[in-house]
């Protein structure tokens, strides 16, 4: 790009053509006053406070939008400029309440700041003033129209940053205001309550409810950390006063989310201060399952746990014990938990919820590529020419990743293909929507492979140089011509061709998938088929390509990385591999069990059978999150001893013998590894609530009581141990974990980490094609159970709701469960929005309210598992993928009846 040279306040400046005067001035340290402009948005030129003098120009120009030109002479601070700025401030003040003494924004308000800096104490203009009522209708923030200076930043934030387009300027003249269509409450608009508008407002017109009357701007202590909800791992900054989180912000330079958040991160972290937090250890007092407990000291509780676990081990063997670790906890804690299982208790019976979400990803991608993680990084998505999303409701479950995709689509760069039986929001951004029947993904992908080979659209060089097994694949997919695939999937033949061509012919194409792909009895095959697709077309090992599983939990990646899995040590080394075993035995100073342990669902089955007698469950709620929960409850009741460690008394904890109060992300140090393999620091922000303790301390103390001394003073020391034993974390040390974090593999101190995997070579050497014949889902609709039930999540809640339902705002905006059904089905069943129905499968039944929506295809009912009052996992099936042992949460059959008899 051409360079332009100009003079700003007598300084020579050379910048790129197209730069604005504002940016050029900023580059040399001159900050021009501004109200409406923000660097992450297009200029609106609404306020004109940024005016400057340009030699030769008759009028003052708005520097935020005015481009530089050669030999331009700019003055930013002349008397004329200052006079103009004062006038602007005075005019703004003429219709602005003089409220600074009680305004929450005071101290961080731009209007206040410029009035002060320009010396404008009051206004000469006594015009008409607005007297709007305060808009307090939504649970998260308040809008005070009287303080609005109509700068338009909130509108730009909503439209250009979050792509929601809920608000705009409406009406004209004196009546102009920021409004939703028909001036309704944001609750009745498309608003998703991301709070981007609140963060963008330069004055006190938009204010988080959580911070009202909680302190002034200058009283807050700020701590940078990571959002604890989803696998995106957004960078957040907590404002703290008196050991309370008062507000959450996203720093503009956050490497993952660049200042953006979703409603959970922005407004959902107040679960930390819920009065229902566990504050002291509890010991069961009464029958198991009654939920009656008495308070206990840490000494008492830990002694009891150690005693009972040792007894069971001595009596029935180490494998009668099983541990569920937690993808919500830090990587260090998961490392300790698996060490507790293997080195202290002597069993490989450790697993965690990854089994229920991405176990099939691990088996499939390990087999095809040799490592199972998101191949590429989030920030590469906006440069992809084609993105193929299959089985991911991205905008609700990975909201910030969805924004990265929308960025590319909006700017005309990316063509988006969405394959989903449900009309999810991403469909609105898609060039092509493939509405496959639930459970027919393998057929769909095989069909695309077939077309790509038939039309010779594949990357023969890549296949030749970097893969094996192509001939077998070619033979296997011969059975999937478009006509047959169309019959199986319900997708028109034309669309199959379009999708195959678009994906194959785009220079850079990536595949994103999530639980819509993994949670099937064919989960492993689904992902192997996707790996075939990427290898066949050479869309791997380069930027903006790859096969990227979107991991659900904030730290499910980290928990897997450090071996909270029954068959794998930290670093994905097999427990049956003698070399690995030797390494860990030496490091831990004990001999280790060498047979793979039980997976989540197997633990439950063995507990029912009486073979697993003691369980230690940390930060999970299998009663709500595991399939066929009647069986889970039976299993828990059948145990001899159950210890649950959590921050709330969740549904599972009600069956515990001992409950240990852990702490939330805000009360401890550690790391989370996000879905793009980025290891990020979690920083302790407040003191533990009540008598609760960081989970890593609890595990250490318990280990010591069990006769294996753990003396870590800080999680940093645990990370040193992880680094020394786990090659992919080899270069990870706390002193290196700055704002960027580190993406594994990061093998030594000098290794900057890895942005995308499989460059030049797959982890396993050659990529391997696998034939993946189509198999039907385990349970299909029939006369008795005519509907397919599919399950998932919504934007506003998290998993079993342990956290999100303890956030008052989130609980208020989505208070109860709904089953979504198609309008035609609703008509046939004679029910409408809000009607109570009984939803029943072969395993149980629940009562739930109906929501009629064309999001659901005919014959398919959708429900979330967030609500314990309507636990959908009473209905789901515990049929497993034969390899990955992941249950089929996405397809089972149900019947729907009006709930008449129940009152």
């Amino acid at each position: 790009m051409a360079k332009v040279s100009l003079t700003i306040d007598n300084q020579k400046v050379v910048v790129e053509e197209g730069t604005t005067i504002f940016q050029a001035a900023k580059g040399v340290g001159i900050e021009i006053p501004h109200l409406c402009h923000r660097e992450d948005m297009l200029p609106t030129s609404a306020c004109r406070l940024c005016v400057v003098e340009v030699d030769g120009a008759r009028n003052l120009v708005a520097s935020c939008s005015y481009p530089v030109s050669n030999n331009m002479v700019v003055r930013t601070n002349t008397e004329r400029v200052i006079k103009a700025r004062r006038l602007i401030i005075e005019l703004l003040l003429s219709d602005h309440p003089f409220d600074c003494m009680t305004c929450e924004k005071s101290g961080a308000c731009d209007l206040e700041r410029y009035a002060y800096e320009l010396g404008v104490p009051t206004t000469r203009f006594q015009g008409e003033k607005h007297a709007y009522p305060l808009d307090e209708t939504n649970p998260f923030f308040v809008r005070d129209y009287n303080k609005c200076i109509l700068c338009g930043r909130c509108v730009a934030a909503c439209n250009e940053v979050q792509f929601v387009e809920a608000i705009n300027f409406a009406h004209r003249g004196f009546n102009t205001k920021v409004a939703t269509p028909y001036d309704r409450s944001l609750l009745d608009s498309t608003c998703l309550f991301c709070g981007q508008c609140v963060a963008a407002c330069p004055v006190g017109a938009l204010t988080e409810k959580s911070r009202r009357f909680q302190g002034r701007e200058w009283e807050f202590r700020k701590v940078s950390t990571v959002c604890p909800y989803c696998g995106v791992g957004c960078n957040i900054e907590l404002d703290i006063k008196d050991n309370r989180i008062v507000r959450v912000n996203a720093p503009a330079n956050g490497v993952v989310n660049q200042g953006r958040l979703c409603v959970k991160g922005k407004f959902g972290l107040d679960f930390v201060h819920s009065p229902e937090r566990l504050t002291t250890p509890l010991i069961r007092d009464g029958e198991r399952g009654d939920g009656k407990f008495k308070e206990a000291s840490w000494e008492e509780a830990l002694d009891l746990v150690a005693k009972r676990l040792s007894e069971l081990k001595n009596r029935s063997g180490a494998d009668s014990l099983a541990i569920l670790s937690s993808a919500k906890c830090t990587t260090e804690e998961n490392y300790l938990m698996q060490k507790l299982a293997r080195a202290v208790l002597g069993t490989n019976n450790i697993d965690h919820c990854a089994r229920l979400c991405h176990a099939s990803t691990v088996t499939a991608l390990s087999a095809a590529f040799g490592s199972a993680a998101m191949t590429n990084s989030i920030a590469e998505l906006r440069d992809a020419d084609c993105i193929f999303i299959i089985g991911s409701n991205t905008s609700e479950n990975h909201p910030i990743i969805a924004l990265e995709i929308m960025e590319g689509v909006r700017h005309g760069k990316t063509k988006l293909i969405v394959a989903d039986p449900r009309k999810v929001r991403m469909v609105d951004y898609a060039h092509l929507w493939l509405r496959q029947k639930p459970g027919t993904d393998v057929a769909l992908i095989n069909g695309m492979l077939h077309i790509i080979i038939a039309e010779n659209l594949y990357d023969a060089d890549f296949v030749q140089a970097r893969t094996e097994g192509f001939e077998e694949l070619r033979e296997a997919i011969a059975e999937y011509p478009p006509s047959i695939v169309s019959q199986i999937t319900g997708i028109p033949v034309d669309n199959l061709y379009q999708a195959a061509r678009l994906y194959a012919q785009s220079p850079k194409a990536c595949i994103l998938f999530a639980m819509g792909i993994t949670q099937h009895t064919t989960g492993t095959d689904n992902i192997l088929a996707l790996a075939n697709l990427a290898m066949l077309t050479g869309h791997l090992g380069r930027e903006s390509t790859g096969v990227s599983p979107l991991r659900g939990q904030n730290n499910v990646q980290g928990a897997c990385d450090v071996g909270a899995l029954p068959d794998l040590f930290p670093g994905y080394e097999s427990v049956t591999d003698e070399v690995s075993q030797g390494k860990f035995e030496q490091a831990w100073g004990v001999s280790l069990p060498d047979t793979p342990g039980l997976t989540v669902v197997e633990m439950i089955h063995k507990a029912v059978a009486g073979q697993v007698k003691g369980m230690y469950i940390m930060g999970e709620d299998p009663v709500l999150s595991d399939p066929n929960n009647t069986l889970v409850v039976r299993a828990l009741k059948n145990l001899d001893f159950l210890v649950v460690q959590d921050i709330f008394l969740n549904e599972t904890a009600k069956f515990a013998d001992v409950v240990l109060p852990g702490v939330s992300f805000a009360e401890k140090d550690g790391t989370f590894t996000n879905t793009e393999r980025r290891i990020q620091r979690v920083n302790k922000s407040i003191k533990p609530i009540g008598d609760s303790k960081p989970d890593w301390q609890i595990i250490s103390e318990l280990a010591s009581r069990l006769g294996y001394t753990m003396t870590y003073n800080h999680p940093a020391e645990i990370m040193e141990e992880i680094a020394s034993l786990t090659p992919i974390y080899g270069g990870v040390h706390y002193d290196r974990l700055n704002q960027q974090g580190l993406q594994w593999p990061c093998r030594n101190r000098d290794d900057p980490g890895t942005k995308y995997l499989h460059k030049g070579r797959f982890t396993r050497g050659l990529g391997k094609f696998h034939a993946t014949p189509y198999r039907e889902p385990f349970e299909l609709p029939d006369e008795d159970y005519p509907f397919i039930l599919t399950t998932g999540r919504i934007l506003y809640h998290w998993h079993g709701g342990t956290l999100s339902r303890h956030s008052p705002g989130l609980a208020e905006i989505r208070p109860e469960a709904e089953v979504e059904i198609n309008p035609q089905d609703a008509e046939m069943l004679c029910c409408s929005d809000g009607d109570l129905v009984e939803l029943a499968s072969r395993r149980g039944e629940i009562l739930v309210k109906v929501k009629v929506t064309d999001k659901s295809p005919q014959g398919v009912a959708f429900m979330t598992f967030h609500f314990k009052e309507a636990p959908v996992n009473r209905l789901t099936i515990d049929a497993l993928d034969p390899v990955a042992k992941i249950p089929e949460f996405k397809v089972c059959s149900v019947k729907i009846n009006p709930a008449t008899s129940q009152e």
């Binding site: 387009e165 409406a170 409004a179 269509p181 498309t190």
Partner: protein, 155 residues
């Protein structure tokens, strides 16, 4: 706000077809839509928003910015009384009061039976004839309260 519950969205098809490939044609589309329905019903705007892929918030912004657009149904007869200075001082004010009284509505409103909508306008450029009232596009000059009543009764 929307009173009619049987709005035929298919009436919009020709308009959409006509502007199918044009970018930034929102204002002409809205104008023609208003011609079809007489005003801009909410269902129609929601439908339009989906079809032309313009967010409803932006459509609402445009519709409320220009006075030519109506979000509520209008009467079959549009009465516009001039509020310009020339007309006003020559008795326009009492003509307006008379008309308001006769129709039983304030300016800017529509009668319950949708027979009349009463609006005021700034100078119509016919000051010499003032006070001026325009009824369904037809100009009536030298208006008095009595004449106004006679004209209105005749509709």
């Amino acid at each position: 706000m929307v009173i009619s519950n049987d709005i035929d969205l298919s009436l919009l098809d020709p308009v959409l077809e006509k502007y199918q490939f044009e970018e930034g044609a929102l204002i002409p589309i809205l104008q023609e839509t208003q011609q079809v329905y007489g005003y801009l019903p909410e269902e129609v705007l929601v439908h339009l928003s989906r079809e032309v892929r313009v967010p409803l918030s932006q459509i609402y912004a445009v519709v409320t910015f220009y006075s030519q657009f109506y979000l509520t149904p209008r009467g079959r007869n549009i009465i516009r009384v001039c509020r310009g200075t020339a007309c006003y001082v020559r008795g326009g004010r009492s003509v307006l009061r008379t008309v308001e009284g006769f129709l039983g509505i304030r300016e800017g409103n529509t009668t319950a039976d949708y027979k009349f909508t009463l609006e005021t306008v700034a100078c119509l450029g016919a000051c010499a004839m003032g006070p001026v009232v325009v009824i369904n596009g037809k100009y009536f000059g030298k208006m008095t309260s009595t004449r106004a009543k006679i004209v209105l009764k005749a509709i």
